[in-house]
């Protein structure tokens, strides 16, 4: 019984496993001495209040370097290309930190998209010249004349046609939707059974 059942299950799983698809995305910790100097200097200029953690991310669209740290109770994520050139800054913020006019526009969009929704996470996404972005971040001048681009990235739990899923949405500074994508959650079978 033991042998037969083992063989049946083994061959069944081995044959099905051949169809498994490979999704290439890998994140690993980086030591400070492996980080390009310009990236290191830029992050230091933002005056992080807690230890900076560096990550190297490999994916199909290219490699990048990411610094994560806390500053004034908010979590910062600064992304660079592999040479240390700044790509963007993302800052975890409360929903109320978004300008009222933009918030209303985003809410109108969400009400149209989902039967029911809950905002799980809000991030300010800043792109522009490193000097300008450093000025915005250090002095909290999100709504000023400094030339830079501000977008809002939201993670929303949405109920749509009886399906509950997690979505990533991107809005411009006027609350206009730029992107909506469903987040594929990691498999949880090994935590449930």
């Amino acid at each position: 019984m033991q042998k037969t059942s083992f063989l049946i299950v083994f061959f069944l799983t081995a044959s099905l496993n051949c169809f498994a698809q490979l999704k290439y995305e890998k994140e690993s910790r980086l030591k400070v001495d492996q980080v390009p100097k310009n990236a290191l200097q830029f992050v230091e200029s933002l005056e992080p209040t807690k230890k900076v953690k560096w990550y190297f991310e490999e994916n199909l669209s290219g490699n990048s370097i990411e610094a994560k740290f806390d500053k004034n109770e908010f979590m910062y994520s600064v992304e660079f290309d592999s040479l240390g050139n700044l790509e963007d800054i993302e800052i975890l913020k409360p929903w109320e930190a978004i300008d009222v006019h933009t918030r209303n526009a985003i809410e109108t969009y969400l009400k149209k998209q989902f039967n029911k929704y809950k905002i799980r996470k809000v991030q300010f996404q800043l792109t522009g010249k490193p000097k300008d972005l450093a000025q915005v971040v250090k002095a909290n001048l999100y709504y000023s004349d400094i030339p830079y681009t501000l977008k809002y990235e939201l993670i929303v739990k949405g109920n749509k046609n009886k399906d509950i899923s997690l979505y990533e949405l991107l809005f411009d500074d006027e609350g206009e939707n730029l992107k909506l994508s469903k987040i594929l959650l990691r498999n949880t079978d090994n935590l449930e059974y």
């Binding site: 069944l12 498994a20 890998k26 994140e27 990550y55 449930e192």
Partner: protein, 200 residues
């Protein structure tokens, strides 16, 4: 001491329903209990099928059936469970609340209430990526009721996992179980657990 090889096959059935099919074998190599001394190399096999329904983003209710072949005996078990998975920065936490009822021709009816807490920790980066190792720790508490008797069992399973892809992972670790300490002398068992999780 014994081994617990297991294979978990999981499949989406659509509309939030999923099917879990599990095969698990148990082989005792050595036991610390004198009563079990004659059961060295005894083998049993479990086959179970559980259908679950997603009730929220990360929680599900499930029900299923298990059949156990233990020597000449065939034992049946019905299973009900509620599972919830939380994702925190750098860690995934799983809660499982379950009940099961065991019965068979040579088996007294027994009922169990169980709770299991699981933590999954990446060993590189903030989450477990493909081709990476991770640490998983299970801690389960089981209340078993049989006729007029009651027993309480605790399980601790630290294991090391390897994620080939999100649909294919292998875990190996030690499964430590202790019971009978409520009304008598504690009996402990140590198993070498190897589980293979495959999503179809």
């Amino acid at each position: 001491m014994g081994s617990l090889p297991a294979i978990n096959l999981n499949s989406d059935l659509g509309n939030g329903y999923r099917l879990n099919f599990k095969w698990e074998s148990r082989q005792i190599i050595e036991s610390v209990s004198e009563a079990d001394a004659n059961r060295v190399n005894f083998v049993l096999s479990d086959f179970s099928a559980i259908v679950s329904k997603k009730v929220d983003l990360r929680s599900s209710i499930a029900g299923g059936y298990l059949i156990r072949f233990e020597g000449d005996a065939v034992i049946h078990r019905t299973i009900q469970q509620f599972a919830l998975v939380r994702r925190l920065t750098g860690i995934r936490i799983g809660h499982r609340f379950a009940s099961d009822q065991t019965f068979g021709k040579k088996e007294d009816f027994s009922f169990r209430l169980r709770y299991r807490l699981t933590g999954e920790f990446p060993l590189s980066g903030q989450e477990v990526d493909n081709k990476e190792f991770y640490l998983k720790v299970n801690n389960e508490y089981l209340n078993a009721f049989e006729r007029n008797s009651y027993d309480f069992e605790i399980r601790l399973v630290p294991s090391m996992g390897y994620l080939f892809t999100d649909k294919n992972k292998l875990e190996a670790g030690l499964d430590y179980r202790i019971d009978s300490f409520v009304n008598g002398t504690a009996v402990s068992n140590l198993w070498l657990a190897i589980s293979w999780y495959i999503k179809l």
